[in-house]
């Protein structure tokens, strides 16, 4: 705390030091109450920061083996060294691990490319569809001499990213249909869409996943089985579609009725009106809330651990249950918390930036 203030107060040339002093007076010490708050906050930050830093860095052992962790009070990062492979890729065969790495790289670069507005086009959509098919064969194998890997062995970060990206990819079109249906003038279509949306929004995701894992098999004709991963994925898609549908509907409602009337008076058909006039404007409005839906989807994929899929959280949890590493539970959770944090933080920053850009674009 003191070092923080000193470093800011240290004179670094006439005006600059005056400016920083004035800034400090205005923002930190403007009144006795404010000064007290600053001191308390500074103390709190110091306490938390010093605890975290000494655990993660100063008192920690960075050696690659566990022997070095005998007499230390901080983190034993050997845990991450030893278990990273399992946490990140699950039980994917060790010789074929490059395929997991390739899949993660494909998913992340796909998301990164899609975040750049210059690439937004139909080509990107086609690229995604082709990419997902390629991705499936990279992971599942069975072609071009690749060894076949059962979906039960897909795990870790690969699975988390796969569930989230495929989830949002398929949820979006479904959500669009549901949103259009809910805004439709046909009462029966409307009722069905309202029921689907409200049922999925009214129940927790975990119940949808339980339903997908125990009830879904009963729905299928005898002898037909669908694997667990696909069932969970379908559950996630429907759940997200319901939320996304409401986001899309909000966008459509925000378009002034003059736009609808103008399109009607030009004699456009329903699909022309929606496809060429309403949706391009509405979807643009809802990009930021769509992003936050994607972020919550990314976090929610961790729930599949409850129905026994090996996502990032599940692999960490089972690595912790290894008796040799019983004491290192914190390291494992901190490691993946950091992974989740980086992904979600990047996405939320990106969505803020996008929001600003779009607002600027509209005011011109």
């Amino acid at each position: 705390m003191t070092t923080l203030i000193e470093s800011q107060a240290r004179p670094t040339g006439g005006t600059a030091s005056n400016r920083s002093l004035r800034w400090m007076r205005d923002n930190l010490f403007s009144s006795p109450v404010n000064t007290a708050i600053t001191l308390v906050c500074g103390y709190l930050i110091w306490q938390v920061l010093s605890t975290i830093l000494s655990w993660t860095v100063f008192d920690a052992s960075f050696a690659a083996t566990k022997d070095a962790c005998e007499n230390i009070s901080g983190a034993c990062w050997a845990y991450v060294h030893q278990n990273a492979r399992f946490i990140l890729f699950g039980t994917f065969p060790e010789d074929e691990q490059w395929r997991s790495v390739l899949a993660i790289a494909m998913l992340i670069s796909g998301v990164l490319i899609s975040t750049n507005r210059r690439f937004w086009s139909v080509g990107l959509l086609v690229g995604w569809l082709v990419g997902l098919v390629v991705l499936y064969f990279v992971l599942a194998g069975g072609v071009l001499g690749l060894e076949r890997v059962d979906t039960a062995h897909w795990g870790g970060l690969t699975l988390t990213l796969l569930l989230a990206v495929v989830g949002i990819g398929f949820a979006a079109p479904l959500a669009l249909m549901l949103a259009l249906g809910r805004r439709s003038e046909m009462p029966f279509v409307k009722v069905i869409c309202v029921v689907v949306i409200e049922v999925f929004r009214g129940v927790p995701l975990i119940s949808v996943l339980i339903m997908a894992s125990v009830m879904f098999p009963l729905f299928l004709p005898e002898g037909v089985t669908v694997n667990k991963l696909l069932r969970a994925q379908v559950g996630i898609i429907f759940f997200q579609a319901a939320y996304l549908a409401e986001v899309f509907r909000g966008g459509m409602q925000a378009i002034p009725s003059g736009q609808y009337e103008a399109a009607d008076s030009l004699g456009l058909s329903y699909w022309q009106k929606m496809g060429k006039i309403i949706l391009p404007q509405a979807l643009r409005l809802v990009i930021p809330p769509t992003m936050s839906t994607f972020i919550s989807l990314l976090k929610d994929t961790s729930l599949v651990v409850i129905i026994g899929l090996f996502d990032l959280l599940a692999t960490t949890k089972s690595a912790i249950n290894d008796p040799a590493w019983r004491q290192q539970f914190l390291e494992g959770y901190v490691f993946i918390a950091l992974i989740f944090f980086i992904m979600c933080f990047f996405l939320s920053r990106y969505s803020l930036k996008l929001d600003r850009d779009l607002k600027q674009g509209m005011s011109h």
Binding site: N27, L28, S30, N34, I37, T38, C41, G42, L44, I45, E185, M186, P187, F188, V189, I192, E198, V199, R201, G202, V203, P204, L205, I206, S207, I210, M211, V214, M215, P217, L218, F219, L220, P221, E222, I295, K299, D300, S302, L303, V305, I306, L313, K317, I320, R326, Q327, F329, L330, Y333, I336, A337, F340, F341, C344, F345, S348
Partner: protein, 396 residues
């Protein structure tokens, strides 16, 4: 319309009908209905065949049967000999218990952080933002696992319990708190409290009526709050002011007496509170910032007292922005409490899960817990609609 076109239309009545908007709409709907009906029939048929094939009973008869599994904590009398129906009631009550406590705590924590976010103090704002970014960007389930590990692994055994405040003990078997010793007086105090709250609303009604009729101001808020505090307090004093506490004490390997929060309940409550507070803080912040400065200035220049400005001008406008998303967060917290199943707190989903594993009647169990969650959601959204209508700006 010219004669020619009329003739064409008359010559081709089927086409005319097909281009009619109403007819089209009916045809579409019949198609959709048919599709949905066939799909539903197909699914139900498959399910029935499968159930028959696997020899699984159908119907809700199992609710009467003996559950034969223990539940670690329950608000009502429950033993393994009780029925499945009773077990599910225990689950619902446990869900409500953790949700309601969580909602109260998250609102308090979130409001404080939200106010911190609009503070003039930079360090406080920074602290608030860091809190929000940290806990919002990590999945709730991961946080729950984390806290649960900390509580069960890093907390000491009851013998070496942490004792931060006199009478409060933190152990790996949960949290122990002192509570007032059992005494019929407390029931009376509770009744007095309810009576006090009812008195407050009656007073408010009367005061507002008088204000409209005569223009005289009656300070119903301070008097009313006084009534709410005074009535139970008097009841307590009159009945002898019992102060005896039931404090937890170490007997053998564990504590007895006092209020025990199991590690599962404690973890779930902590996780839900910390996570939901991040969202509530943002809502409170945007609510406060949504009221333009001019409103405050205008009200002050009209000569209203600061407390009246807050109550009559600022709060009603801020609450209009705050309440709808806040209700949504309360609903989310209730739904998120279903993550209890992952750490072993016996909530509704967890007990339904056990029930379906034991009886095999997955369809019925899923239907039961889904409809309970749905009815909670529906009740809350009905309330929201009512509230929005009441609070909506009346535009002339």
């Amino acid at each position: 319309m010219t004669q020619n076109q009329t003739n064409q239309a008359a010559a081709n009545p089927v086409m005319t009908l097909l281009y009619d908007k109403t007819v089209r709409s009916i045809i579409y709907q019949i198609l959709v209905f048919g599709g949905v009906f066939l799909m539903g029939w197909y699914l139900v048929n498959n399910t029935l065949t499968n159930l028959e094939q696997q020899d699984i009973a159908t119907g809700f008869g199992f609710l009467e049967k003996e559950a034969a599994f223990g539940i670690s904590e329950s608000l009502i009398q429950y033993t393994p000999e009780s029925s499945y129906g009773r077990a599910l009631v225990v689950g619902v009550l446990n869900t409500l218990k953790v949700s309601i406590t969580g909602i109260i705590l998250a609102t308090i924590l979130g409001t404080f952080i939200g106010i911190g976010l609009v503070s003039k103090n930079w360090l406080l704002r920074f602290l608030g933002k860091t809190y929000i970014e940290t806990f919002r960007n990590i999945p709730l389930l991961l946080q729950l696992f984390f806290w649960y590990s900390v509580v069960t692994n890093a907390f000491p055994s009851p013998r070496n319990a942490l004792n931060p405040i006199d009478g409060v003990f933190l152990t790996n078997r949960g949290l122990y708190l002192p509570v007032p010793a059992e005494n019929p007086v407390w029931t009376a105090v509770l009744i007095a409290l309810v009576a006090g709250i009812a008195g407050f609303f009656l007073l408010r009604k009367w005061a507002l009526k008088r204000l409209e009729a005569t223009g005289e101001v009656f300070p119903y808020l301070s008097v009313g709050l006084g009534v709410i505090v005074a009535v139970p307090l008097l009841t307590w004093l009159v009945s002898g002011a019992p102060t005896e506490l039931n404090t937890p004490e170490l007997t053998g390997f564990n504590f007895s007496g006092g209020l025990n929060m199991s590690p599962e309940f404690f973890t779930l409550l902590l996780g839900l509170t910390v996570y939901t507070a991040t969202y509530i803080a943002e809502i409170v912040r945007s609510g406060i910032q949504s009221v333009p400065k001019g409103q405050n200035e205008a009200a002050t220049s009209l000569g209203l007292k600061p407390s009246w400005v807050m109550r009559l001008i600022i709060l009603p406008q801020a609450l209009r922005v705050i309440i709808p998303p806040m209700t949504n967060q309360y609903l989310n917290l209730t739904k998120n409490s279903s993550l209890a199943v992952a750490i072993g707190y016996p909530d509704l989903v967890s007990i339904s899960n056990t029930t379906m594993n034991q009886t095999g009647q997955a369809v019925e169990a899923v239907v039961i817990f889904m409809s309970i969650y749905l009815s909670i959601s529906l009740l809350i959204s009905l309330f929201m609609n009512w509230y929005n209508k009441r609070m909506a700006l009346v535009e002339r």
